[in-house]
Amino acid sequence: MRSNPGEGPFEVAPHPNPLPSKRAFTPVFDGLCGERERTARGAALMDLLYKIFLDPFVQMGAAPDLLVQTLWEGLVAGVLYSLIALGYVLIFKASGVFNFAQGIMVVFSALTLVGLYQLGVPAFLALALTIGVMFVLAFGIERLILRPLVNQPDIILFMATFGLTYLLIGFGELVFGGEPKVMITEALYLPKGAIEFKILGGFVQLQKIDIAAAIIASIMVAGLAVFFQKTRIGRALRAVADSHKAALSVGISLEYIWVVVWFTSGIVALATGIMWGAKSQVDFALEIIALKALPVLILGGFTSIPGAIVGGVIIGVGEKIGEFYWGPLLGSGIESWLAYVIALIFLLFRPQGLFGERIIERI
């Protein structure tokens, strides 16, 4: 609030010898300076807008080979995210439980595989044995966790999967030790190295392991889709997902279906563990990648298998493109949170996810 001198209680005496204002001395120059400042600010804004909205696309056009490379990397990451998300979707569909332990199941299965191999078991026997271990795990979870907790609120089951997570971490460290291990890619005949080819006036480099990962993941996803759509057990599983009491009334045993679901998602976890393990290494930090599947689930909807696939690819590609073209604007490293932002934006417009069951409320 401005008051006239002499009126208000907080009267400030004018300075006896006020500093001459810039304006008083150089009115003409001042005008010019403001103009320049304004122009500079405008230019900076234009530059920023250019950097955000045009430059990335100019870059894409200028170096299409880099764009292809980025898209490919996004696709590979996306397919692997889809695999993890699929593990969640399977269990969520059949039992309404968000399985917090999915991440540790990835680590546990990979550790079991490598651990068995280190004991001198041939690689493919170790693979078969690991699948056996995942079956025992699924059976044990059904017997010891799900069956006693049947008809409890979902949050109780969710908490139980927390418990399972820490149980598996402890058990895994006890048996296999905490030090990182190297995935047995060669023994499993997974290819190594890279192939390069010329495209659009540049070189694109594809890691062979990435190609293998994309192919294996695609086959698994397609196979699971057929299994759930076209077979008796798949039908029974969808039936359980839709209505427990109706499923029981036609003679579907919930216990059996739960074992099948946990076993299937154990196999999915094993595949994920092998692929991610081959790209980095096998240790408990790998559990974190499971959280990467969360935005995928939000995007795709918790109950949709196609949603998990499409969501995974959108997140994977979005993340890599964002990091490569827009990342430098924010000093890079945006990959770790960009996925959540993408998911959040989708969530604002489609709260049930891209393919989730539409939320209809009758009043």
């Binding site: 077979t231 008796r232 039908r235 839709d242 209505s243 109706a246 009334s249 036609v250 003679g251």
Partner: protein, 266 residues
């Protein structure tokens, strides 16, 4: 189904017998000391005012609830405490008062789900969807198509049932129960919320199922006209007790029944 139950019951013999069954939820007595029987090949109606315990009775028969007292004989043998999917394996199928379908699945898949118990190929063949699993699919699909023709729902077989009108949903639900080829079919208000035409259709299907397949049916229904037309014998419940049991004509003349439905001056 008879593989599970070697004792084959001839038409007219007792298929299911309820003996002194009582069921309580905490302090609420849903059923007190109820006894009645269902004979092979008949249509047996269970009626009563709202809250009489009719649906509880069905839930006891198909294993959703376990009575605290009394016993149930099915095909001449005392039934152990069993869960619903075991009752289903024993040959008891049912429909629900508020349709319980697999809403995301097509009508065809819903009815195929009813064949679950009849299909035996193992997990690994299923995973490959090859060999025995594939042959089995074909055989059972044929049976299911017969049921679809029988219920005249061929036109909607690929539609997700969540989108169907209520009357058709009820029909799909009946189809799913029929696909189990049950010894005993429990129908919980199959005509609730239907218009006259739909009721007539449903009545016709129930009679046809009973005549053509010889399926024994236990039926809960509020529409007295339907009950009296369809059923061979009627049992009446009120406040969890049995107040009458007999042929439709006897029931219509029974003073206790009339009092229960119309109220009585005290």
């Amino acid at each position: 189904m008879n593989a599970h139950n070697p004792a084959i019951v001839a038409k007219g013999d007792t298929l299911l017998s309820i003996e002194n069954v009582s069921l309580a939820f905490g302090g609420v007595k849903a059923l007190s000391d109820i006894s009645f029987d269902i004979r092979k090949g008949e249509i047996r109606a269970i009626i009563g005012p709202n809250g009489a315990g009719k649906t509880s009775m069905l839930n006891v028969i198909n294993g959703f609830y376990h009575p605290q007292q009394g016993r149930i004989l099915f095909q001449g043998r005392t039934r152990a405490k069993m869960r619903p999917h075991e009752a289903a394996a024993g040959g008891i199928a049912r429909t629900f008062q508020n349709v319980a379908l697999f809403r995301g699945m097509s009508a065809l898949d819903n009815i195929m789900a009813g064949r679950t118990l009849a299909m035996h190929s193992n997990f690994f063949w299923q995973l490959l969807r090859y060999g025995p699993a594939m042959q089995e699919e074909v055989v059972h699909r044929r049976r299911v198509e017969e049921i679809i023709d029988f219920l005249e729902i061929a036109a909607i077989r690929k539609t997700p049932v969540g989108r169907l009108p209520y009357g058709l949903q009820k029909r799909v639900e009946l189809g799913r129960a029929l696909a189990m080829e049950p010894q005993l079919l429990l129908l919980d208000e199959p005509m609730a919320g239907m218009n006259l035409e739909e009721k007539e259709d449903m009545s016709r299907f129930i009679i046809d199922v009973n005549h053509q397949f010889g399926t024994t049916i236990a039926l809960i229904e509020h529409d007295m006209g339907v009950v009296m037309d369809l059923s061979d014998r009627v049992v009446v419940l009120d406040y969890g007790r049995k107040i009458a049991d007999g042929t439709p004509t006897e029931i219509m003349a029974n003073q206790k029944v009339i009092d229960a439905y119309l109220g009585v001056a005290h």
